[in-house]
C-alpha cells in the first residue's frame, strides 16, 4: 500500500467519503481470498434512473453484495417548506417525485385540508379533476417506467413507444396546467384553475389514441422471448420480504397481495369508482411489468369515468379566508391575474383588496395538530406527515416517498444474481431519485 493508506486506529476526528478512485486507498487488498471487485454503478449512469449510486461487490459476474447510496439529489425541500406559506408549499412538493407531481400535490393538499377541517367542503368538480389528473399521471409515470426499463434492457423500441405516448399525456398536462412538469395545479382547497375550454374533448381523443397504442406496446413486449428472458425470475421478492422491507406499489402487488390504498383507505372518492387492482403471483420484474401495463388500462377507464362525472361548478372552496382570491387569465403580457378581479379589488371593494393582500402576503393559518395522509402513487404508498403550530407556515412536512422505501429492496433482489440482473431489478422497482432524496 502506498503512503496514502488511511490509518484507522489513529485518534483523529475525521470521516471519509468514499467515491470514485478512492476505494484503493481505503480498502486493503484481500489476502488469501478470491478476488472481489467493488464496482460503483452510478451515480451518473444511464441505467440507474437518475443519480442512484449502486455499490456492487462482485465476484466474476455475480453480485456478492449490493448497497445503494443515495442523497445525490437532496435539495432540502422539507426544510424549505417550513419557511413558506401553506399554498407556496405546493410549488415545492410537486418537484419531489417529478414523475408523479399530481400525487405529491394531492397528498400534501389533502393533509392541509384535513388540518383545516375542510375535507368535506372541497367542491365535487375539484375532486373529480384531481382524480382525473392523478390517473393521467399514473399513465405517464408508468410509461416512463416501461420506457426507461426497456431502454436499460436493450429494448429501444419500448423506450420510443413509452416516451411517444407519454408526450401525449404531457400535452394534456400542458394544456390544462400550463406546464409539462412541476405544475403546482392542485392547491389547498381545490385547484389553481378550472379546465380550459375544449380540454374534455382533447382528453377523450387522447384516450382513444392511447388505447390503440397501448396494444402495440403490449404486443411488442408481453410475449417477447428476450424481454421474458431478461425479466422473468429476476429481482425476486416475495410477500414476506415486501412486508418486512416496507415495499409497496407494483412490487408488492406482484406478490399477489391486492393492496392498493385507493381501495383499502379511499380518498378523493375512489370508493365510488369502478376499477380493479391488478395482481400477479410471479414475485419478479416481469410480473411488475405486467401489473404496470394492466394499471394503465385501469387508469384509462378511471379517466373515462371522471369525464362522465364532470359537472359545471366551482373548483375552489367557498371559504374566502382560504380560497386564493384571484383567477388567472391571459392578458396582453401573458398569463396573470384577471383584469376583472383587479378592477373589483382596486375600484369597488376595499374588503376584497384587503383579503387579497392578506392571503397573498401572509397566507391562511392552519390550526395546530398533525395528520398523516397517504395516497397510492404509481410507485406505492406516498404518505405525508403534516404538523402545524397554528401559523401561516408548515411546522413540519415529511414525505414518506415510496421510492425511498422501495430502494431498500435492492440488496434482497440482486445479491446472488448477475450484474446485468441488477439493472432489471432496479427497473422493476422504478425509483425516482427526486422523490428518494427530496
Amino acid at each position: 500500500m502506498s503512503d496514502t493508506t488511511l490509518d484507522f486506529d489513529a485518534d483523529v476526528d475525521a470521516s471519509y467519503t468514499v467515491t470514485g478512485n478512492d476505494w484503493q486507498t481505503v480498502l486493503p487488498a484481500p489476502e488469501g481470498e478470491k478476488q472481489r471487485i467493488v464496482v460503483n454503478m452510478g451515480p451518473q449512469h444511464p441505467s440507474t434512473h437518475g443519480v442512484l449510486r449502486l455499490i456492487l461487490d462482485i465476484e466474476g459476474e455475480s453480485v456478492i453484495e449490493a448497497r445503494a447510496g443515495i442523497g445525490y439529489l437532496h435539495t432540502g425541500i422539507e426544510k424549505n417548506l417550513e419557511y413558506r406559506s401553506w399554498v407556496q408549499g405546493v410549488t415545492f412538493v410537486t418537484r419531489m417525485d417529478y414523475l408523479s407531481p399530481f400525487f405529491n400535490e394531492t397528498a400534501y393538499c389533502l393533509g392541509v385540508e384535513r388540518l383545516l377541517g375542510i375535507t368535506d367542503e372541497i367542491p365535487e368538480r375539484a375532486t373529480v379533476i384531481r382524480v382525473l389528473m392523478m390517473e393521467l399521471n399514473r399513465i405517464s409515470s408508468h410509461l416512463v417506467a416501461l420506457g426507461t426499463g426497456g431502454l436499460e434492457l436493450g429494448a429501444l423500441t419500448a423506450m420510443i413507444f413509452g416516451f411517444r405516448e407519454r408526450e401525449l399525456v404531457l400535452d394534456l398536462f400542458e394544456m390544462i396546467t400550463g406546464l409539462r412538469m412541476n405544475h403546482a395545479y392542485i392547491r389547498p382547497g381545490g385547484l389553481a384553475q378550472d379546465l380550459p375550454d375544449g380540454a374534455e374533448k382533447k382528453i377523450a381523443e387522447t384516450l382513444t389514441l392511447l388505447r390503440k397504442r397501448f396494444k402495440d406496446t403490449s404486443d411488442l413486449l408481453v410475449d417477447n422471448a428476450i424481454w421474458m428472458a431478461r425479466t422473468k425470475g429476476v429481482g425476486y421478492l416475495d410477500l414476506e420480504g415486501c412486508m418486512a422491507l416496507g415495499i409497496s406499489g407494483p412490487v408488492l402487488r406482484a406478490t399477489g397481495l391486492p393492496h392498493d390504498i385507493r381501495k383499502t383507505d379511499p380518498y378523493c372518492g375512489y370508493e365510488t369508482y369502478d376499477f380493479k387492482v391488478p395482481t400477479e403471483n410471479t414475485n419478479d420484474s416481469y410480473g411488475r411489468f405486467l401489473i404496470r401495463l394492466a394499471e394503465m388500462q385501469e387508469s384509462l377507464n378511471l379517466v373515462e369515468q371522471c369525464l362522465d362525472r364532470l359537472r359545471p361548478g366551482p373548483v375552489m372552496v367557498a371559504d374566502k379566508k382560504i380560497a386564493w382570491p384571484s383567477q388567472l387569465a391571459i392578458g396582453a403580457d401573458g398569463m396573470g391575474n384577471s383584469l376583472e378581479h383587479i378592477r373589483t379589488i382596486m375600484g369597488e371593494s376595499m374588503e376584497a383588496l384587503i383579503h387579497h393582500f392578506k392571503l397573498v402576503t401572509e397566507g391562511f393559518q392552519v390550526p395546530p395538530g398533525q395528520t398523516y395522509v397517504r395516497v397510492e402513487s404509481p410507485r406505492g404508498e406516498l404518505g405525508v406527515h403534516v404538523a402545524s403550530m397554528g401559523g401561516t407556515r408548515p411546522y413540519r412536512v415529511h414525505f414518506r416517498d415510496p421510492s425511498f422505501a422501495n430502494l431498500q429492496a435492492v440488496p434482497a433482489m440482486s445479491e446472488g444474481g448477475m450484474v446485468s440482473d441488477v439493472i432489471a431489478s432496479v427497473a422493476g422497482i422504478d425509483p425516482v431519485m427526486g422523490g428518494v432524496d427530496r
Binding site: T17, L257, G369, E381, R393, R400, A405
Partner: protein, 248 residues
Amino acid sequence: MSDSTPSDPQTTATEPVAGQDVAGAGESAQEVIEVKRGSFGVIGTGDTSGFGGLVDKIETEPAASRPYGGWFDDATDELELALADRGLPATEAIERIVIEHGEITYHVRREHLIPFVTALRNEPALRFEWCSGVSGIHYPDFVGKELHAVYHLTSITHGRSIRVEVSCPDTDPHIPSIVSVYPTNDWHERETYDFFGIVFDGHPALTRILMPDDWVGHPQRKDYPLNGIAVEYKGATVPPPDDRRGYN
C-alpha cells in the same frame, strides 16, 4: 402607544413556560409545546401596532377518554391485553392517547417502545404488519421532550392505521431502534438521525443517508438556519426566506 397596550408579558407572574404542565395535574394534562409572542414578526420597540404584546400558548392535544369511538376502543383493549401478556402494564408503556382528525396516536415512553411495537406487530388481533417509517419533529421550546419520533403503522389484515409517537430530551437524544421489528425502518431511522440528530440505539449502521458523511449539524432542527442568500433583482434586494417577515 395607547393605554390599552397589554402589560409586558415578561413581567407577568402567571407567565406560561413551555414544557410545563398547564394544570400541573400529571401526565394526562395538556402540556405547552410553544409560546408565541407578538405578531407580524415585530419584537421590541419597533412595534407600533400593539400586537407585540400578544401571547399565544400552543398546547398538546388533550388526552382522549373512553369511549374513543369506532375500532379505537377495540384495538386499545386488545393492545392492553397484549401488553399485559408480555408483562408490561399499558399504563406504564402508554403516556397518553390522543385522537385528532379521526387518527389515533399512542404516545409511548421510549424505554417501552420495542415491546410495544412487537406486540402491535405480532398479536393476531392487532397485526400491524406494515410500518410506513419514522418522521421526526423538533419542538425547541418543549422542555424535556424536544425531539419526537413519529411512526405510522398499518394493519393490512384489519384495515387499520395508528400513529405511535415517542419523545426524548435534546440533552439525551436516544430512542431505541425498531429495525429489529420493522426492517424497513433501517433507512427511515437513518434519515431521522441525519436530519434531527436522534440516535436510534440498536440500529445496525446508523450513518447519515441524505446529507454528506462529513456534514456538521442536523438540518431539520429548528435551531439550524436555512442559510438562504439575498437575491438582487432590478436594483431591489429580496432577503432570503428565513429573513423575511413571518406572520406566525
